[in-house]
């Protein structure tokens, strides 16, 4: 006899003997459970499937409770939610591991580095590229230029050196670009909504790509002759060949993005018009103005902005510079400028930096390569005046020393009283930073710095349908991958906005572990792959790409160094899914946390007790489904663990290595060893 009842207002008909959980699931009402599986007997350990029934004083475990005619069941009352949350919070208080690898977590765009590195290891390059495209487009370009925060976080450093993640990305992307089977963006069903993106740099292109995936019509407006933004007009050819960038932009264009170049906001097109014409607008216009140094003489002829200097090359022009050039600044733009100056024939190229090499924000490799190319670094110097000296310029430098650490922890430079130095120059390139120029963006609220005020969770500006992301917002200029990460999230928010859903982006919660060198003591040391390239002599007088890229053999070997920190079961893990679903407070119940060794269940099956939720599915599946009794419980209370039931010798004979226990595990606590 079937029974009729309602759950969250949905009418459900339960068959005779059917539980609330089973019948509700069939009716499309999701109830979380960690310990229930259809093919094993009801167990009732996890307590997260509880529901509240009107007129029943206790919460019922829906995995075992059978509905009665007319039951009014709720899964969303505060009491139910509190009970479930507490169960998850207790579980998480003794659950250690890494849902995702540190590489992914440290990537501003959240790229699943571990996944694509391992796909590269397996020779699955297309899959690797697809993995990257889950986060952002342009892998070949970004792989070449990214300062790779992923590598900074890579745990392989605890063995010797990080995995060469960025170059592996470029390797896979190049491989696929050259393969004739290029990545094709899958666009969503047409939504009828139109989005305008202003600025076709990494942020704008990424947002366009994402919005096409969502199915919206996208138009990018850009003031430059070609798309690419700073990737094209800020990064020199020897680091990023523009042919590569062109190919990757073409992939985005093929996805149906309308690209309109040579359109300057406020001149060729009015901002008000765009906001009216389009359902949503994303401002991603970047930061294109070099920060002035505020020293007398900086407006003299021969003093140029770093971005203008590099931009000319992007336009195919050759800026005229003299033999003696000083670049002021210590970031990557400064390095690009000084190395470009070398390539343009300057004989004496200085980098003027007011701190020491240790404090330089530029990537180490850039500094090294600049030195190799003959760039002279003048640390602890600060320009105080530029004067005309005949045809040439004279720059007076204040000699500095490091004082007390400032708020950021960096020791701030202080002038050494009365000590100065003069250098004779033909050109000075200012590369101490870039700021946004928001001319033409009428009515949008700006910060004191002149950047656009955009909410960090919603990317919304003060104008209803206008969003902003990348270098133009809030803190201002940063690295490309950060702008890309923001753009992807902004696209998510825009999509929500267009769908009328809540706009907010919320970073998912992940369980994270902490490791030390001691955890990897048993690992064999393997050198990080070196990137082959041109010698300083071969590269310093031309703009040829300086790197050759990894060979397939090198790439796969390099990829195989990955420690695979992130949990193998992340995508199927019910615990992390529910933890995010219920917005848990994982540190609510602090206390002793187990740190136990892995347990070999059989030759090919390994148990990680630190991730185990003791749902019992592994041993119950072994017993009830596989008809073996190979796994069991051991110990009591807080120290209960899953263990092989008999000695390991019998294990070999007993265990069918069927892997059903692994499949049954709701978290990453069971795995097959390969």
């Amino acid at each position: 006899m079937s029974i009729k009842y309602t759950i969250d207002g949905v009418e459900v008909i339960a068959e005779d003997g059917e539980t609330i959980l089973s019948s509700a699931t069939r009716a499309g009402v999701e109830i979380p459970t960690l310990c229930f599986a259809e093919n094993t007997a009801i167990y009732g350990a996890c307590g997260v499937c509880v529901v509240e029934v009107e007129g029943v004083p206790k919460l019922l475990r829906s995995c075992s409770a059978k509905p009665m005619e007319g039951y009014v069941v709720h899964t969303d009352t505060p009491r139910v939610i509190r009970a479930r949350k507490t169960a998850f919070e207790l579980l998480l208080s003794d659950h250690t591991g890494d849902c995702r690898g540190p590489c992914k977590l440290n990537c501003p765009a959240g790229t699943d580095c571990q996944k694509y590195v391992n796909e590269i290891k397996d020779g699955k390059y297309f899959e690797a590229v697809s993995t990257i495209y889950e986060a952002f487009p342009l892998p070949a370009s970004i792989g070449r230029v990214c300062p790779h925060p992923c590598e900074d976080a890579c745990r392989r450093q605890l063995v010797e050196e990080p995995i060469s993640i960025a170059f592996l990305k470029a390797f896979a992307a190049d491989k696929v670009l050259a393969s004739g089977n290029k990545y094709k963006i899958e666009t969503g069903a047409d939504t009828g909504k139109r989005v305008a993106i202003i600025g076709g740099g990494p942020a704008g292109l990424t947002a366009a790509f994402k919005l096409r995936e969502y199915g919206h019509a996208v138009t990018i407006f850009d003031q430059q002759p070609k798309m690419g933004g700073m990737l094209r007009y800020g990064i020199p050819q020897y680091r990023l060949p523009k042919e590569v960038l062109d190919e990757e932009i073409a992939i985005i264009e093929e996805a149906g993005v309308l690209m309109k170049n040579n359109v300057k906001l406020g001149k060729d097109i009015q901002f008000d018009e765009i906001t009216k014409t389009y359902d949503a607008v994303l401002l991603a216009i970047g930061a294109w103005t070099s920060v002035p140094m505020r020293v007398p003489g900086e407006d003299l002829d021969g003093v140029i902005g770093g971005i203008n200097f590099l931009g000319k090359l992007g336009l195919g022009e050759t800026p005229e510079i003299g033999k003696r050039v000083a670049v002021c600044g210590g970031g990557n733009t400064a390095m690009d400028a000084c190395r470009t100056a070398v390539r343009l024939g300057a004989e004496e190229v200085y980098v003027i930096y007011r701190r020491t090499r240790n404090e330089m924000p530029a990537a180490d490799i850039e500094i090294e390569e600049a030195e190799e190319e003959g760039v002279i670094f003048k640390f602890l110097t600060n320009p105080i005046e530029i004067t005309k000296d005949g045809d040439a310029l004279n720059m007076k430098l204040q000699i500095m020393e490091l004082g007390e650490p400032d708020a950021s922890g960096r020791r701030s430079p202080v002038p050494v009283e009365g000590k100065t130095e003069d250098i004779k120059l033909d050109n000075v390139i200012m590369a101490i930073g870039q700021v946004a120029n928001c001319e033409g963006v009428n009515g949008v609220e700006l910060t004191k710095k002149g950047t656009i005020v955009a909410d960090e969770m919603t990317f919304r500006t003060n104008i209803e349908n206008v969003f902003a992301a990348g270098d133009v917002t809030n803190k201002g200029a940063g690295i490309a991958i950060a702008a890309i990460g923001e753009a992807a999230k902004a696209a998510f928010c825009i999509n929500n906005y267009l769908e009328g859903a809540e706009v907010r982006y919320k970073a998912p919660y992940y369980v994270q572990d902490e490791k030390t060198e001691a955890d990897f003591e048993d690992r064999e040391k393997q050198d990080r792959a070196e990137m082959p390239g041109l010698s300083p002599a071969e590269r310093k007088n031309n703009f040829k790409p300086i790197y050759f890229g990894f060979s397939e053999e090198t790439a796969r070997k390099e990829a195989s160094r990955c420690l695979e920190c992130g949990c193998h079961d992340y995508y199927d893990c019910r615990l992390i899914k529910y933890a995010n679903w219920f917005d848990v407070e994982p540190s609510k119940f602090p206390g002793e946390v187990h740190k136990r060794d892995f347990i070999e269940i059989a030759d090919v099956i390994e148990h990680n007790p630190n991730k185990c939720v003791l749902c019992g599915l592994c041993y119950r599946t072994c017993e009830e489904v596989a008809k073996k009794t190979f796994i069991g419980l051991y110990n009591r209370g807080f120290n209960t663990t899953i263990n092989p039931m008999f000695s390991k010798i019998e294990a070999a004979a007993y265990c069918a290595t069927c892997g059903k226990c692994v499949d049954a595990c709701p978290t990453g606590a069971m795995r097959k060893k390969f």
């Binding site: 009732g44 350990a45 996890c46 307590g47 169960a87 208080s93 119940f589 419980l633 807080f638 209960t640």
Partner: protein
């Protein structure tokens, strides 16, 4: 001809009854002109007087001798032979101590300490198996039996207090030929020994009660799940099962009727949670003792998923009496809510510790002061803990609470299985809560999340409170966890584990706050929060403390006051124990 009866329950044996018995055997064995008989009985409940030797003339108790030593055996031998009992006046129980028994009403314990538990004849002589005979010979139906139990109002004595008749009826109603009747003798609460006393002292009473239950529900097999830590109980029960089988009380066609039932013992392996009925069933089936989800209840799907009835030892121990005397007679005792009697194991800081059986409706004060004689050392009564790890403490202000399931439940404690631990002013209630929680946390089977991790987290908080590392908000956090564990745990163990903590918060919040805010233990028990010193006005300079100090922390010159170096002191309490001048101050 006198009968010399040595009290040989586990408690008596532990106090030296075995040696006394051996000596008596030796003496009477050598020469026994009066033909006196030396025999045994089990625990009478007066543990504070063990070893006890009773002298009987026929069935009449003529002398009860207490704290009997091996040397006293000679005295007894002489008195018996000379027929001059004044020779044992000095070891005879005082009238005051004798009143311990007078104020009790014994049903479950009616034969304990009186009959020889190894003799079925002695049981039969006191009306044993009459109830069974009544059922099988007068044509009482299964329903009649259940009706009689229903009339008696008997509730489960294991702790939960669920109606026995209801359970029996449910098991009887369940379809199936194969049904089981199980006795839960996995008595695990710290300080509780009621069931042990019944099995050791009157095993046939248990067998008879179980047989009546088996008849009522239609079970053909009965199983007693006894904890292996009760070896003497197992021996006596095994013997009783053999005897009863030989006499036709157990086996096929009992007493010529068409009722057949066999009985066996299963020794538990020492897991507290196996006292939970579904965990007990799992254990019986040879699995790890972990609770099952209810429903289905054992009455529907129990042992081997067949209809099963599980009751506690004391519950069954009342059954034969009820059938023999009628449910109404049982129901005449007690309160509206709770009928009959209840056995308590009275322990702790009490003058007369032991086993007491009293009618429901008496007050805690009557049990503790009238029967138990009040607090040892005439210290201040602080609280009484009922129900062990599942129960709670009741403060002095509630001493007049009547013993009744509802009234005790309203205090936040529970009736429980009968553990009654009395505490005086020197007991730290936070430490007490921690003790019980430590027990449940360790005994948790680990199956459900709330019990496994929740009790652990609670224990950690209590741990830091008693170490003086408590933080503001800890009490609230404890309360939140308590409620979550109560609500979320799968079985009774977890659901009741927070009770000791909750009652401590309810009645002794000040004491807990003193630990947290002032880093002070008002009872002077928490080691990390106390210092030992010597009162110079009381110290006579005997050096006893200094000699017993394991840390060399006490120094001084003979005949002048000694001092304790607090930096060296390890707070073991040895000095306090040895000082005869009460000069050790704990603050």
């Amino acid at each position: 001809m006198l009968k010399v009866v040595v009290g040989e329950g586990s408690c008596g044996l532990a106090a030296g009854a075995g040696k006394v018995h051996a000596k008596l055997d030796e003496l009477f064995g050598a020469s026994n002109p009066t033909g006196a008989v030396v025999t045994i009985t089990s625990c009478i409940g007066m543990c504070f007087l063990e070893p006890i030797v009773d002298l009987y003339d026929g069935t009449e108790l003529v002398r009860r001798l207490v704290h009997v030593t091996e040397a006293d055996a000679e005295k007894i031998y002489a008195a018996v032979n000379a027929n001059d009992l004044s020779l044992v006046d000095d070891i005879t129980i005082t009238p005051d101590d004798a009143s311990f028994l007078e104020k009790q009403t014994r049903i479950a314990l009616r034969n304990c300490g009186i009959i020889n538990p190894m003799s079925i004849d002695e049981y039969i002589a006191r009306g044993g198996y009459d109830a069974l005979k009544k059922i099988l010979t007068t044509g009482m139906s299964q329903d009649d039996v259940i009706e009689e139990i229903d009339k008696s109002g008997l509730k489960g004595r294991g702790g939960a207090g669920f109606s026995t008749a209801f359970k029996w009826r449910a098991a009887k109603k369940s379809e199936g030929e194969e049904k089981y009747l199980i006795c839960n003798a996995d008595e695990g609460d710290p300080g509780a020994f009621m069931d042990r006393a019944v099995i050791e002292g009157d095993p046939h009473n248990l067998i008879e009660g179980m047989l009546i239950g088996a008849y009522a529900i239609g079970a053909k097999e009965a199983i007693v799940y006894v904890r292996a830590e009760y070896p003497l109980a197992i021996v006596r029960l095994e013997n009783a099962i053999k005897e009863a089988t030989a006499r036709g009380y157990l086996g096929d066609n009992i007493l010529g009727s068409n009722f057949s039932c066999k009985m066996r013992i299963k020794a538990g392996a020492g897991a507290f949670v196996c006292g939970e009925e579904t965990a007990l069933i799992e254990s019986l089936e040879g699995k790890r003792g972990m609770p099952r989800l209810k429903p289905p209840f054992p009455a529907q799907a129990g042992f081997w998923f067949k209809p099963s009835n599980i009751n506690n030892v004391e519950t069954y121990a009342n059954v034969a009496w009820i059938i023999a005397n009628g449910g109404d007679a049982f129901a005449a005792m007690g309160t509206e809510e709770s009928k009959g009697t209840k056995v308590f194991a009275l322990t702790g800081k009490i003058k007369r510790g032991g086993l007491v059986e009293i009618p429901m409706g008496k007050t805690l004060r009557e049990v503790i002061y009238d029967i138990g004689g009040g607090i040892r050392g005439d210290k201040e009564f602080k609280a009484v803990q009922l129900g062990g790890p599942s129960g709670g403490c009741i403060p002095a202000s509630l001493l007049d609470t009547v013993i009744d399931y509802k009234a005790l439940g309203a205090t936040g404690a529970i009736m429980g299985s009968g553990g009654m631990v009395v505490m005086d002013e020197t007991t730290c209630m936070v430490g007490m809560a921690r003790f019980f929680l430590d027990f449940t946390a360790k005994e948790s089977c680990g199956k459900c999340v709330h019990c496994r991790i929740g009790t652990k987290r609670m224990l950690e908080i209590l741990g830091r409170i008693v170490e003086g590392k408590g933080e503001e908000g800890d009490i609230e956090k404890l309360e939140e966890l308590c409620m979550a564990v109560k609500d979320g745990a799968l079985c009774g163990l977890g659901q009741t584990a927070p009770n000791p903590v909750l009652t401590t918060i309810r009645y002794f919040r000040d004491e807990m706050e003193a630990h947290i805010t002032d880093k002070r233990c008002p009872a002077g028990e928490c080691r990390d929060l106390i210092t030992y010193s010597i009162d110079p006005d009381k110290c006579i300079g005997c050096s006893a403390c200094a000699r017993k100090c394991p840390a060399d922390a006490i120094s001084g010159e003979i005949k002048s006051p000694f001092v304790i170096d607090p930096d060296k002191c390890v707070k073991c309490g040895n000095c306090k124990t040895v000082c005869r001048q009460d000069a050790i101050i704990i603050k």
